[in-house]
Amino acid sequence: MDFQNNGPATASEEEIFVPCEDVREHLVVVGNGMAGCRAVEELLARDKDRYRVTIFGAEPYVNYNRIMLSPVLAGEKSFDDIIINSREWYSENNIELIAGDPVTGIDRTAKTVTSQSGRTVGYDKLLIATGSDPFIIPVPGKDLPGVISFRDMKDVDTMLEAAGKGGSAVVIGGGLLGLEAAHGLTLRGMKVTVIHLMDTLMERQLDEAAGWLLKTALEGRGQTILTGANTEAIYGHGKVEGVRLKDGTEIPASLVVMAVGIRPSTALAREAGLDVNRGIKVDDHMVTSDPDVLAVGECVEHDGNVYGLVAPLWDMCRSLADGLTDQHTGYKGSVTSTKLKVAGLDVFSAGDFSGGEGCEDIVLRDASRGVYKRVVVKDDKIVGAVLYGDTVDGGWYFDLLKREEDVAEIRDLLIFGQAFASGGGALDPKAAVAALSDDAEICGCNGVSKGQVVACIEKGACSLDAVRGSCKASASCGSCTGLVENLLAVVLGDDVQSGPRTMCKCTSFGHDDVRREIVAQNMRSIPEVMQRLHWSTPDGCSSCRPALNYYLLCALPGEYQDDQQSRFVNERMHANIQKDGTYSVVPRMWGGLTNPTELRAIADVVEKYNAPMVKVTGGQRLDIFGIRKEDLPAVWADLNAAGMVSGHAYGKSLRTVKTCVGSEWCRFGTQDSTGLGVKIERMTWGSWMPHKFKIAASGCPRNCAEATIKDFGVVCVDSGYELHVGGNGGIHVRATDLLCKVSTEQEALDYCAAFIQLYREEARYLERTAPWIERVGVDYIKSRIVEDEAGREHLRSRFLYSQSFSQDDPWAERAAGQHAELHQHLDPIAIAAE
């Protein structure tokens, strides 16, 4: 984890050296959270050099994305994934971070702040960004160990520790935060009860109908939801043991999470004598009642409003930075929208839907799809929207709402979404994003508007990854990935670098997303993946099923139950289907070597089963053609008897290891390429891959085994072994890239295993090594395989571990009668006519 290591800090002679000639104005920020750091980022973007910056943070971490604590709890992200600014960012921008040392006092006359450790620092401008404190309901037992809130990384750690022990948890509060906590704890294996005071879950964001749908869905996932339930006490001796409701019900629990609301954290400001109401009062440039003290984020009150979501922070920070750099734009308040971050449950709400004078409701329900949509219109303008089950149009409604667009003309079609309302009826997502206004929000997690994404694309970010890297859009929860991709397409036309496309028409996720989620959420079967990632088809299609089967197989060696019906015919039948429906059979010949017993057995099979043709393949082995599926098990039994196993000529797997005769026979040979080839094939055979994988080993640079058009090729030289990667023959021939040179045979084997595992874990299904390497760059491969010795060793051992389960000959299993139904016809019995 990327901890900032100078906390908890003490004031000592180790104070970071500040050059005395640094006479710039000193900006001190209290609060190293989302608003505090964003304000500094905005400021730096406007004028990098104007202020010297010091940030105090109570938490012992660098700045992280608080809203992503929910995915961390749910196991979908790690703490590292949610860091917004790493230590490098602070040092590159000369920002002094004092983490783990909260500010305890402000002296506005002396213009200094003092921290818990006793450090006193002077300021020219002070920015208070202390966020909120969780509200703790004053019931008996609230201070028992095991009763926590859900606000920071420490709380997540506590929850994970409790979940590790299993048992039951109670979450008090059925709002956004409470439900995300309950979801995470459920995924972590706890039995969760949610206690909610109101009758409707998330009543501030949802209406009754949507709340009911949500409640039903959560109950379906095993949570107990008690609405209209009032907590009387938390009981326990020395630690929490349960919660008692006013009606006497007792719910045992080893963990109680209180998520009943937040209060602006204003104590510091109040003590310093600043104007504080519900929050710290600020003007349109976030200036408090003291012109040298600013405040931003959840701790402030602007124009009578306090906020508890991130979107307003982004607007506030812009106005604040404008003000600090003498541009006067001014914050005008924010309209907010909410999205619940619970995988598989799409809930969106925005604006006001309490109804009232002059409000009209437009409602659409589709029970079979579990969809509920409600748009509230007043004076021909959208004032609120609640969407459940289908939230794709959330952004569009929200945009219309914020711009106060007149919707009279599209009123009748409004509820069907943008595609219909904008005419045509056909869904063109590109036209849809093109139609969004520049300030429409694209990425809610990082507060990035369409205009900003477009600007960053125009500045040269021409792939999804580049956009994620430069303006952070779609870099957090990923739910706006589709929008960003469409923007790329709109702005760049054909120049867009194909980023992760969706896997197939059954899902909106790309290969990489699906794969990441499989690992992060520890998914264990194809139906589970389809359920959790909301596949749009009942059981996928012939594109996604084999891919998912592979991803699961790769993620769970030895545990995953291979699904035969998700395999392409060749892999299901362990032979290559030919155009007449018969099969060809290629037994393995290690390194292309054979012997009389094998040749005799092959000859016998050819005669016994009337195979019309035998051919030497380009991969140096023999291919027996024209075998019927019924005969395959018997053919395999005969070949097994002579010691031969499956050659996997049919699989997305290791195919052949082609060799030349090398130093053993050839006058030019420098090393034993044949022997090495055999060893490599013994190590790698049977492994499943994203695509087919071919290897060759040549005994000298004359390269008779054509190693430089293989996925992994070895070219022996006097001083050792050149390792080549990423070549293939085929329609677009690609010669390999040189990976490195090694001096021993063992190293050649080790690097080969590591490379294969990297390919297995990171390439997309049906992506051969050549396009994969062109996509990620050979330097990346080198950094993982050549430069990172420990990483290489880990990859290698993961490969060998997975191989320990995959080197059973599939032919032998079939010859012994497994999956007989795949080879035998059904037995028909004629029965009497009706």
């Binding site: 299609c541 012939s542 019906q565 392409f568 599926k629 139904e821 016809h825 037995d827 004629a830 029965i831």
Partner: protein, 111 residues
């Protein structure tokens, strides 16, 4: 009047898979079982180049041909999407836990 042939039970066919039935003098028949346990029977020949449909990946109520990935609707035998062609279908019914298919001769007569 239809002749029916008993070909076994649902359990004999793998879910999202198919088995074949051979009847003397007739084209091979593929009997499919879908993810929701519906059973369909088609002549085991793709309308494109006669690929053995029984070996394809069954998804929803379609099968992807193993040779060139045409998608064939199990209910109608028709190629989907931009591809054109149709494979003859065979009536299927269930009786007392047994699966019965109509004798293809009868089908021919009816056609």
């Amino acid at each position: 009047m239809t002749d029916w042939i008993d070909i076994g039970t649902l359990a004999d066919i793998p879910q999202r898979g198919a088995r074949t039935v051979q009847i003397a003098g007739e084209k091979e028949i593929a009997v499919f079982r879908t993810g929701d346990d519906k059973v369909f029977a088609l002549v085991n020949e793709c309308p494109h180049k006669k690929g053995p449909l029984s070996q394809g990946i069954v998804h929803g109520h379609s099968v992807a041909c193993p040779l060139h990935n045409w998608n064939i609707a199990l209910k109608t035998g028709e190629a989907q999407g931009n591809d054109e062609g149709c494979t003859p279908t065979i009536a299927v019914k269930e009786e007392g836990g047994r699966i019965l298919i109509a004798r293809p001769v009868a089908l021919k007569a009816a056609a």
